[in-house]
């Protein structure tokens, strides 16, 4: 790789990674109980059992890690989803993942009366996977296999079907609405570190798959026929892409509930900054996604202190102005 040619991209990637680390630090320090950086460091080096130390270790640190990894997963899944469907409006939700997860969780609450977040997570993952497999199967039915158009339409239809199921259950059951409303808005508050460690291996696999796919996606973006002519096994690439979306977005939704905005918006912002080469786009989107979710999560603590705002609300509040700016700056030609 010619370093000079990529110097701008390297700078962007390093600066944003530094920002990500900084925000993680802030996320640990800031909040209802303000702590200093010194206290935060002490909490790990010389833990003394004080309230501050416990908060840092058991609440703030998991939260910062979860925000960073969930944001990264959603953004990367978004990049792959948009490339796979060749549609700028696509998001991980296009495979029905969010809708499937939402439906599974609400079903769990209404029918099996589950209440704890851990079970929510498993239900969500199950629902997401089930929905994605259904959408993928429908989308690849027929002689020509998976086409972006069929996948998109099948995804939109199935997502609507699952969402209507969720709505139906909630409209008929006000108590369940109260329980899951916060979850449905997307939140990373109150998650234990174990929840992250449980899905971290999946996230890692998804991330690796995404990186392996990067150069193949570049070829696929030239169009199906060209890609096949160049010797790309398009069927395999598309299947792998689908699998990585499910793993990434599925584990994200399992921990944090359906956070829709990041997966659709971050890929656009990243593409505008670093270009369309997936080898750069995927890691950079991941970093940006982490940054947005961390910033939103910190904002969510302060917006209505001492109450917390769901982080899904804050991602839109923080991300939209920037997104509109980017959208206005670029895209001069239809």
């Amino acid at each position: 790789m010619k370093i000079v040619q990529h110097i701008g991209k390297i700078v962007w990637l390093s600066v944003s990674t530094a920002a990500l680390v900084l925000l993680m630090g802030l996320s640990i320090v800031l909040g209802y109980t303000d702590t200093s950086i010194q206290t935060a460091i002490d909490a790990f080096t010389s833990f003394d059992g004080s309230n501050e130390h416990i908060i840092v270790q058991s609440i703030r640190l998991p939260r910062a890690l979860i925000a960073a990894s969930v944001g990264a997963c959603l953004a990367i899944a978004g990049v792959i989803a948009q490339s796979l469907t060749r549609n700028p409006l696509a998001s991980p939700g296009i495979l029905g993942i969010n809708a499937g997860a939402g439906f599974a969780v609400v079903t769990g609450v209404v029918i099996f009366h589950i209440t704890d977040l851990q079970t929510f997570a498993w239900m969500a993952f199950l629902g997401a996977t089930f929905a994605a497999i259904t959408v993928y199967t429908i989308g690849s039915y027929g002689r020509e296999g998976l086409t972006p158009m069929k996948l998109t339409l099948a995804g939109a239809a199935m997502a609507a079907l699952f969402a209507s199921g969720t709505q139906g259950l909630l409209v008929m059951n006000e108590a369940a609405l109260e329980q899951v409303l916060f979850w449905l808005a997307g939140s990373i508050a109150g998650r234990k570190l174990e929840m992250l460690t449980a899905v971290l291996p999946y996230m890692a696999v998804g991330f690796l798959l995404a990186l392996l796919l990067a150069s193949k996606l570049n070829v696929l973006m030239m169009g199906e026929d060209v890609a096949r002519g160049l010797g790309l096994k398009t069927g395999l690439v598309k299947l792998t892409a689908g699998v990585s979306i499910v793993i990434l977005a599925g584990s994200a939704v399992a921990i944090a509930g359906p956070i829709g905005f990041i997966g659709i918006v971050i890929p656009h912002i990243a593409r505008k900054i670093i270009g369309v080469d997936h080898r750069w786009l995927i890691p950079f989107s991941g970093v940006l996604g982490g940054i947005l979710l961390l910033a939103a999560d910190i904002g969510a603590r302060y917006a209505l202190m001492p109450q917390e705002v769901p982080v899904g609300v804050m991602t839109a509040v923080i991300g939209t102005p920037f997104f509109i700016y980017i959208a206005r700056k670029g895209f001069n030609h239809s």
């Binding site: 339409l153 239809a157 969402a163 209507s164 139906g168 008929m172 006000e174 916060f182 829709g260 804050m314």
Partner: protein
């Protein structure tokens, strides 16, 4: 996309064949619509047989039948049909203009804005005991204004030497997300009772429609639908893309604004009386496309009829199947529509 365009060009050359088939499909949809309207006015707690319904339509029937049919069920049925038609037609226009199969009324921020306006309305005009301090009818106005205002914001933000579809939808997505965030925020901050009330509205329901609603909705939607239909040929050209459309002599920017205004007004009218009903605006045009092909002269009426049928059936199921419980129609639009659409998707193998 490519196959789609060539089909359109072929349609121009051997127009008789395709149009005959499309006309047949549209006539069939019309007949189904008529039957569904009769069925819808007959079904419910008090059942009226189809013959008696027709009897009432022509001035006969017993007092009870007249009351049930004309006062309760007919306005509701008409509102359901027109809400569905408006949403579907708006979706078809937007998909043609934006040239993206995922375009729907949601994407230009209209439904999000209406939702936020209604939840805001409920929050502002509720007293301590959660009762509304003003008439519930004002909700329609709030929704309509919210839809219009948000669409104007999106248009204003997306304007830069004209409107480019990609920029329009991206900004629409952003603004919609913001509106949804606002809606969620208001729902979570308020009492759960209000959240439930808002949730019903957001799901979409035509419960409580009266003749007053019909008097506003029907003329408005009829005029808009006719305008959209008359200008349908412009959509065929728009769908070819900006450069071709300009080359063919279309005033692309003016047409875009015009289509945007029409679809916004359609959706605004629909959400005002039916809430933010999902699925119809996005999927009804796709169903129509698979039934009658892609020329807008046939697509628009077919999409509108399918949309109307979807909402009407959804409402029928919602108010009869779970008696005495009332389930909002919006719950069932996708429940009925999605399986049928997937069937169409699997049946028509486009290669």
């Amino acid at each position: 996309m490519r196959k789609y365009k060539s089909l359109r060009i072929l349609g121009g050359r051997i127009s008789v064949l395709t149009e005959k088939k499309a006309a047949l499909t549209i006539t069939t949809l019309f007949l189904i619509m008529g039957a569904a309207i009769v069925a819808s006015t007959g079904l419910g707690d008090v059942k009226v047989s189809p013959m008696n319904v027709l009897n009432v339509f022509f001035g006969g029937g017993s007092d009870l039948e007249r009351l049930v049919v004309t006062e309760f069920r007919l306005p509701r049925t008409i509102v359901a049909v027109f809400v569905g038609m408006a949403l579907a037609a708006a979706g078809a226009v937007l998909q043609g203009m934006i040239r993206n199969p995922l375009a729907s009324p949601d994407i230009i921020g209209v439904t999000g804005g209406a939702g936020a306006a209604v939840v805001g309305f409920l929050a502002v005009f509720s007293n301590e005991s959660n009762a509304l301090t003003v008439s519930v009818n004002w909700i329609s106005l709030a929704a309509f204004l919210g839809a219009l205002l948000t669409a104007s914001i999106v248009y204003f933000l997306a304007y830069k030497d004209g409107i480019s579809p990609v920029r329009l939808v991206l900004i629409g997505i952003g603004v919609s997300a913001l509106m949804q965030a606002l809606t969620t925020f208001l729902m979570i901050m308020g009492p759960i009772h209000r959240a439930a009330q808002a949730n019903i509205w957001i799901t979409g329901s035509v419960n409580g429609s009266n003749w007053g609603n019909v008097q506003v909705l029907v003329p408005l939607v009829t005029v808009l639908l006719l305008t959209a239909f008359i200008t349908a040929s412009k959509l065929n050209i728009q769908e070819l893309g900006e450069q071709l459309a300009t080359g063919l002599g279309g005033r692309v920017q003016a047409q875009r604004l015009f289509m945007l205004v029409i679809s916004t007004a359609l959706v605004g009218a629909a959400v005002a009386f039916g809430g933010t009903m999902g699925f119809v605006g996005l999927m009804a045009p796709h169903m129509a496309r698979r039934l009658v092909g892609g020329t807008y002269g046939a697509l628009l009426p077919a999409a509108a009829l399918i949309g109307g049928l979807l909402v009407l059936f959804a409402d029928m199921i919602g108010r009869t199947l779970f008696l005495p419980l009332e389930v909002p129609a919006g719950v069932f639009t996708a429940t009925i529509g999605a399986p049928y659409f997937i069937y169409l998707l699997l049946k028509t193998r486009n290669s």
